[in-house]
């Protein structure tokens, strides 16, 4: 009897404890997600009087040339930024993990990690000056190496590379940190055994480090991809999406359609495509990680 009373009391407290979070979740996440799907089916008028137009906004997606450009930009950015963030981060982590005293390791780790804490906005403001064509520091050193001036921010062929380089400078330290934590979980007996068997450093990396680190690598890959697909702050401050649309990302396009053109219906349709991609990536993570990631 008392037991039952206690159970009821627990349940009541349970609901009470999750109440604030759940109200917030319904009002600011689940509700808006359903609403954005609804708005994407309308010609939305912010001053009232929206009309239902079915899948018309989605039809418009297919014929929107700018959408193709912003998606191409976002995919290029994602592929290269993720690739370099992970390879550089992994390289730094491997170097840090080996043959360094712990004091030196902490010192280097702190330096590589620090840019992760700085807002994208500030990073972009600094790099804008470094990238300047005639007065910029980067072109000055390239010139000394005999390389002609590059219009980092105004040449459509270079502008995405500029965004990617800056992104790696800022974010690779996070990948490094997670990889370093992963590496330190690999028992050193494996390496000792391999060394006794005469395995080369390359062989040890390929046969021990990579397989045992694969869950971590896969995880970092997915979170970096999801983050990169949503790129906004970095680019809007560094290039404003220009020249033309050469560096405009999908989220910048959503922002423009929604809050500058006030075409909320169409912006919602674009947002739904982004949500779809992130959904597929996340679900794909579950599926893939069961199939080929090596768990110890």
């Amino acid at each position: 009897m008392l037991k039952l009373k206690e159970q009821r009391r627990d349940a009541l407290w349970g609901f009470l404890f999750i109440f604030p979070t759940y109200i917030g979740f319904l009002v600011f996440i689940l509700g808006p997600l359903i609403a954005v799907a609804g708005i994407s089916l309308t010609k939305f008028n912010i001053f009232g009087g929206s009309t239902f137009i079915g899948a018309e906004n989605y039809g418009r997606l297919l014929s929107d040339d700018r959408l193709k450009i912003v998606y191409t930009n976002t995919v290029i950015f994602t592929v290269f930024a993720v690739f370099f963030n992970i390879t550089v981060g992994l390289g730094l982590a491997v170097l840090l993990n080996k043959s360094l005293s712990s004091g030196l390791r902490t010192f280097f780790r702190s330096i590589f990690f620090f840019p992760v804490l700085i807002a994208h906005t500030y990073v972009a403001v600094i790099w804008q000056f470094l990238y300047a064509r005639d007065t910029g520091v980067i072109n000055y050193y390239l010139h000394m190496m005999g390389i002609g001036a590059i219009s980092w921010l105004s040449d459509p062929g270079w502008v995405l590379a500029s965004v990617i380089i800056m992104d790696v400078w800022k974010n690779t330290g996070f990948a490094m940190l997670i990889f370093l934590a992963g590496l330190q979980n690999i028992p050193s007996v494996y390496y000792e055994a391999a060394q006794i068997d005469g395995a080369s450093a390359t062989r040890r990396f390929g046969s021990i480090t990579l397989p045992l680190l694969s869950p971590t690598i896969f995880f970092v890959l997915v979170i970096f991809m999801i983050g990169a697909i949503q790129v906004f702050d970095t680019i809007i401050v560094l290039t404003g999406g220009g020249p033309g649309d050469a560096s405009r990302s999908v989220v910048m396009y959503i922002y423009e359609q929604a809050f500058q053109n006030f075409d909320l219906g169409y912006a919602s349709a674009v947002a739904m495509t982004l949500f779809g991609i992130i959904l597929v990536l996340t679900l794909g993570q579950f599926w893939f990680s069961r199939r080929w990631v090596h768990y110890e």
């Binding site: 009541l12 404890f17 808006p32 043959s99 280097f108 330096i111 600094i126 996070f174 060394q195 401050v237």
Partner: protein, 297 residues
């Protein structure tokens, strides 16, 4: 030395290997440090350039070859930040207010919900938890349009509440706290219950005091993310009185760098300096917090 002494004894295979390696050992030791030093150099250069430019007369901002180290100490650029048309102090206070409110709110609400999902039994608990966790897949950029309409209806556009209220919900924070509360020994909670403690007392007097590490990790992640956030303020805040620091600095920079570089760099230095100081003091906790955010997120 050790290897010479050992030559008389029957050496193991491992020792022979060490002998052979000794020739390349110096290079093997020095090379990683050299590569890491060069990498660290590349990471630090932009920040060094920022700092020394902030101390030069603005006419020399574009001086080439660049002088990386501060050679002059023109602090008037810093004074100019406070006298510029950008209300710097107000921006800092706005950012601080929003970040503190969101962080405190998350600490309270996430630890409560995390405790409930970990330690209290109620109908639908697992379903509700998984549904909440699934919301990690929903980017804020997708839901921002309806949230904007909500804020417009409530008259909260250009009000800090439009940033704070959505910021109070963190599925990540609930997850982090739940993982922590799952590790508390059951006997501890049972013993408190035997002594007649209610749920609130157990949470408040036992669970929360023990969850310092998890709470500090959540506080660090949440404060840093809110302090640096640009997208939400850009959508919701549009008057100088309400804007946040990242917005202000982006505007100070001006469209395609029309701002005065020395003053802009002084402002950016001021914006980054508190983070640097906190990082130096609390490096261990900050790094731990981000490792946790990575491994559990």
């Amino acid at each position: 030395m050790a290897t010479i002494l050992q030559t008389g004894r029957p050496s193991t295979q491992k020792h022979q290997l060490e002998d052979r390696a000794s020739a390349g050992q110096f290079l093997a030791r020095a090379l990683p440090v050299m590569v890491l030093s060069f990498g660290a150099f590349l990471v630090l250069l932009p920040l060094l350039w920022m700092f020394s430019t902030s101390l030069r007369p603005s006419a020399e901002s574009y001086m080439l070859p660049p002088q990386w180290l501060p050679t002059q100490w023109h602090l008037e650029n810093y004074a100019a930040v406070f006298q510029s048309n950008v209300p710097f102090v107000g921006l800092v206070l706005n950012s601080l207010k929003i970040a503190v409110a969101v962080t405190l709110g998350q600490l309270i609400f996430c630890s409560m919900a995390g405790f409930a999902f970990a330690r209290l039994k109620f109908p639908g608990r697992n379903f509700l938890f998984i549904l909440l966790l699934a919301s990690l897949m929903v980017p804020t950029q997708v839901t921002v349009i309806p949230i904007f309409l909500i804020m417009k209806t409530l008259g909260l556009v250009d009000n800090h509440l439009s940033i704070i209220l959505p910021g109070l919900v963190s599925a990540f924070g609930v997850f982090l706290m739940r993982q922590f509360y799952l590790t508390l020994p059951q006997e501890l909670l049972d013993a408190a219950r035997m002594d007649g403690a209610g749920v609130w007392t157990i949470y408040r007097k036992i669970a929360v005091p023990l969850s310092g590490p998890a709470l500090s990790a959540l506080a660090i992640i949440s404060f840093n993310a809110t302090w640096n956030n640009y997208f939400y303020p850009l959508v919701f805040l549009n008057s100088w009185e309400k804007m946040t620091l990242p917005q202000g600095i982006a505007l100070l920079q001006g469209y395609m760098q029309s701002g005065n570089p020395a003053v802009v760099m002084a402002a950016v230095t001021l914006a980054i300096l508190p983070i640097l100081l906190i990082f130096i003091v609390a490096q261990r906790w900050i790094v731990d917090a981000f490792v946790q955010s990575g491994l559990k997120g």
